[in-house]
């Protein structure tokens, strides 16, 4: 039984990272009705930047057990790139969806080369710091403590976001802005600020995801383009714009990947799309999405 | 009036939203030659009623018969082909299509040409006939090649209704067709409508309206709703003679 739980836990870890990126996607979509195809690139940027800052800090004598905080900090700082990005995307808020998709697609194209320009074509990685905190194990089930920390971060962000959007005044203001920009402005909401805030926050979730995954992985030019598709699968399964959907969707995708790696490796990617299709047939708007029109 | 003349009939229809009952056991019928108005305070359930009658919403209970067959939930397309058409409370047009094209959409449905993917649309005499006749009836002829989104507000409303008329329906449901239309234009719109209805052979009209002026001028029969229930269903003159109902609908001391 223990191996089975180990696999489940591996899936949960994948889900945690996927959730961070997908929730950024959801937040931006939820409020701004923009599908950010560049979310993968932003994730990659978080990864590269996280490595860059953390290795620099370690070389300057940072105590190793502080590295998660440096990573998190790097993710947050580089997430500020959302501010200029929002400035670019602001130019097409009034256009049809296809334009927003395309503009973020353009950003994605550019990002690959920007990353290559700064970091070259070789994949980058951190020294093996993820074992700094050892392994947590119980009943034969074990997992690196660092991974547990990442899961904890994702879960607390999930709960925090749900509370923030559902219960706080700012959250309600965001939701109002999501629905009708002009009327929100007429209610005294500084829409520009809300958009900058949301886009930056959404970007930050992505960069944090990228930074946190790094001790276990490496940063490569392709990582973003690959991730987009998975993040989309999460979002489609969970329902566009729903935070709960992002969490459940990420969990489903993470677990499916893990379980199929164990029991039926041929199906890994296919299984994800099979679920996507099944969900869309059964619940066209996704598990927690609102129906269209 | 024989029962054969009944075109649209709803029996005991209800619509629930969770605990809230927006429509409660309503019976009604519309017969050939009638102009039935539905009135009632805000939130009385008028729009819900139209939505159920036109299959946009399933009734929670009860059923709706049109022209003798059950139409509960048959879907909008089927309704349109059977001869039940509607215009919306908020103006609904095709922003990028011209008046000509908009009316042609209905014409193609009516003539069942919808799967003709290779014929020239306006090369067809039949389509052209319907387009020109309908546009004429609604005074839209000068705008034939204007896009819907470029039409003045009032014309848009007419186009919305005209395109529904071009389906040559038996019964037409109109949800506040003059909402937002200025006083100066309201009667113009209504008269255009009625004239067109006659011209295009529409057999009965059902109207949802707050403007009692319009209601009293054009209706043959009036249904009053309140809190999801039908509280009156009377010929026009009897309706306006009933002080109690009038005060519910119009309020006390209104003009």
């Amino acid at each position: 039984m223990a191996p089975f739980f180990n696999i489940l836990l591996a899936g949960v870890f994948q889900a945690a990272v996927l959730f961070l990126v997908a929730s950024g996607l959801q937040l931006i979509f939820g409020v701004q009705r923009i599908i950010n195809l560049a979310c993968g690139s932003i994730y990659a940027l978080g990864a590269y930047f996280g490595i860059f800052v953390t290795s620099w800090a370690l070389s300057k004598g940072l105590p190793v057990h502080l590295f998660p905080f440096v990573l998190l900090g790097a993710g947050i700082v580089i997430g500020l790139i959302g501010i200029p990005l929002e400035r670019l995307i602001r130019t097409i808020y009034n256009r049809p969806e296809s334009f927003q998709l395309l503009l973020t697609f353009a950003v994605m194209l550019m990002f690959q080369d920007v990353l290559r320009f700064f970091w070259g074509a070789d994949p980058q990685q951190l020294p093996n710091v993820s074992m700094t905190f050892g392994i947590l194990s119980a009943f034969g089930v074990s997992m690196p403590t660092y991974n547990v920390m990442v899961i904890a971060v994702a879960v607390s962000l999930a709960i925090g976001m749900a509370y923030f959007l559902g219960k706080t005044k700012t959250g309600k203001i965001l939701r109002a802005t999501a629905e009708n920009r002009e009327t929100s402005a007429a209610m005294g909401i500084n829409v520009t600020r809300v958009y900058v805030m949301v886009f930056t926050l959404g970007t930050m979730l992505g960069t944090i995801g990228g930074a946190l995954v790094i001790p276990n992985a490496a940063a490569s030019l392709e990582m973003g383009v690959e991730l987009v598709v998975e993040a989309f699968a999460v979002v489609v399964i969970g329902g566009l714009g729903s935070m709960k959907g992002a969490a459940v969707g990420a969990l489903i995708v993470g677990l499916i990947r893990a379980l199929s790696a164990m029991y039926y490796p041929e199906a890994e990617i296919l299984a994800i799309y099979a679920i996507v299709l099944a969900v869309l047939i059964w619940k066209p708007a996704g598990l927690y999405g609102k129906a269209e029109t | 009036m024989s029962t054969n003349d009944v075109l649209l009939q709803a029996q005991q229809i209800s619509r629930h939203y969770g605990d809230f009952i927006a429509l409660h056991n309503v019976d009604l019928s519309v017969s050939r030659g009638e102009f039935v108005s539905v009135v009632g305070p805000n939130g009385a359930g008028k729009t819900t009623l139209v939505n159920v009658l036109t299959g946009l919403h399933q009734p929670t209970t009860g059923n709706v018969h049109f022209n003798g067959s059950n139409i509960a939930g048959v879907g909008a397309v089927d309704l349109a082909t059977r001869g039940l058409a509607r215009a919306f409370q908020l103006t609904s047009i095709f922003p990028e299509l011209t008046v000509r094209e908009t009316i042609a959409v209905s014409a193609c449905s009516y003539l069942n040409m919808r799967w003709n993917g290779f014929g020239s649309l306006f090369g067809s005499r039949k389509v052209n006939d319907i387009v020109v006749r309908t546009a004429d009836a609604f005074g839209l002829a000068p705008w034939l090649d204007t896009k819907g989104s470029s039409l003045p507000h009032g014309r848009r409303k007419l186009l919305d209704v005209a395109s529904a008329f071009a389906l040559h329906p038996k019964v037409m449901l109109l949800d506040e067709p003059t909402a937002g239309v200025s006083t100066a234009d309201k009667h113009g719109v209504m008269e255009t409508l009625l004239r067109a209805a006659k011209h295009m052979g529409i057999e009965a009209i059902m109207l949802v309206e707050h403007d009692m002026d319009l209601v009293s001028r054009y209706s043959t029969r009036i249904i009053a709703m309140q809190a999801g229930k039908k509280i009156a269903d009377l010929p026009r003159d009897e309706f306006f003679a009933n002080e109690e109902i009038i005060s519910i609908v119009v309020g006390k001391g209104a003009h």
């Binding site: 591996a10 994949p123 990947r257 | -």
Partner: protein, 394 residues
């Protein structure tokens, strides 16, 4: 005749294979400078025209541009098998001398380009797996029974694994496959594969993962405790050798460096010079793709000069291509030659790894080399049949 020779180079710069292309391009840079400093090829300077290798569809267009627009004399490069497969017929058709650096995991190693006139291809990508399998048998025989793999999910990954099992069978090594993990190239989250492997409790793990995938796998495997007591056979470890940090890589791995091992004590002076230049300039240690680039260029040079010597005037592309088979060159990683069927023979370097060195990644405790006439199927043979009948010297 004093016009420079224009050589088109096609190599990936972005995407997953960008890192491989980069090393090859650096190799070409160095090689060209060196050739030009020594007077060029047949007295003509070499001029490079570089294009990027992307999808087969777009790379074909780049190739045609080199041929028709840039009027190059020769095209070298190509890393991915898919692209080389599309390009070979086009090169034949346009009579363009074309030498592939790599990218010859061809359709289950069947020859899809019989009797080429203009196209020269590299050694089979499976050579390194054959050699690694032989070394695994030599060093680990009797020390394992339960085997598992984690390989890239495409032909290269599948062929290497099948070859390993075939050789175990051929040498009567009793074994049991307990898990097969396939990972999409570029997938950097292998935690579930690691968990699945861990559950299978293998004695030996064979992995031909490439690029960053391998170090990431090793790191995750190490952190999950999978590296303890498990033997590893990593024929492609040398693709990312500098990323395989000691802290998560155990010693004693069967470790492939393909056709060049940068730290080979027996290396030629040329290789040492190159490695030094590379390390100084790029703060990194080169791998085999630089050698492939060097080899391709030197083979072309030798062919041109051979044809020139025979003819005394500048040879046609046909004459150059006819001259190339049979030429021997001393490549960076050791001796190499072009076979009559236009397939390269080169020297492969592998061995058991050690962490006792001055780098932060493993090197070879002792270098074993094999010439690819030992590792590669002969002309016209079927790879899988040949594996069964070949006489390997273990």
């Amino acid at each position: 005749q004093n016009k420079p020779i224009r050589i088109g180079i096609i190599a990936p710069r972005g995407g997953v294979a960008g890192t491989i292309g980069e090393c090859g391009l650096r190799g070409v840079e160095w090689t060209t400078a060196r050739i030009n400093a020594a007077g060029g090829i047949g007295g003509r300077k070499v001029e490079l025209v570089i294009q990027e290798e992307t999808s087969p569809k777009d790379t074909i267009d780049r190739f045609r541009k080199l041929v028709l627009q840039e009027k190059v004399d020769c095209v070298q490069g190509i890393v991915s098998s898919g692209v080389s497969l599309a390009l070979a017929p086009a090169a034949e058709d346009s009579r363009m001398p074309t030498i592939f650096w790599d990218g010859t995991t061809q359709d289950g190693v069947k020859e899809t380009m019989p009797k080429p006139k203009y196209v020269f291809r590299s050694t089979d990508n499976e050579c390194e797996a054959v050699m690694a399998s032989l070394l695994a048998i030599k060093h680990f025989k009797g020390k394992f029974k339960r085997i598992a793999c984690v390989n890239p999910d495409y032909s290269y990954g599948r062929n290497t694994w099948t070859a390993f099992q075939a050789l175990l069978k051929k040498y009567g090594i009793e074994h049991e496959v307990v898990s097969e993990q396939w990972s999409k190239i570029g997938n950097l989250d292998l935690t579930s594969n690691v968990a699945a492997l861990k559950a299978a409790k293998p004695d030996l793990i064979f992995s031909s993962l490439l690029f960053a995938d391998l170090p990431v796998f090793m790191k995750q495997a190490h952190n999950a405790g999978l590296t303890e007591g498990t033997r590893f056979v990593l024929p492609a470890a040398g693709w990312q050798h500098t990323a395989m940090k000691k802290e998560f890589t155990p010693e004693g791995i069967v470790w492939g460096h393909n056709t060049m091992y940068f730290d080979d004590p027996k290396a030629s002076a040329t290789q040492k010079e190159f490695v030094k230049w590379y390390a100084d300039k790029y703060k990194d240690y080169p791998h085999w793709e630089a050698d492939r680039a060097y080899f391709s260029m030197m083979v072309y040079k030798a062919g041109v000069e051979k044809a020139l010597a025979a003819k005394k005037s500048w040879p046609t592309p046909e004459e150059i291509c006819a001259a190339i088979p049979g030429v021997q060159v001393e490549s960076l990683g050791g001796k190499g030659a072009m076979r009559a069927d236009h397939i390269a023979n080169q020297t492969f370097h592998q061995g058991l790894s050690t962490n006792k060195n001055n780098y932060d990644f493993p090197t070879l405790a002792s270098v074993e080399t094999m010439y690819s006439d030992q590792l590669q199927k002969p002309t016209g043979a079927d790879f899988w049949e040949w594996l069964n009948t070949a006489n390997f010297k273990i």
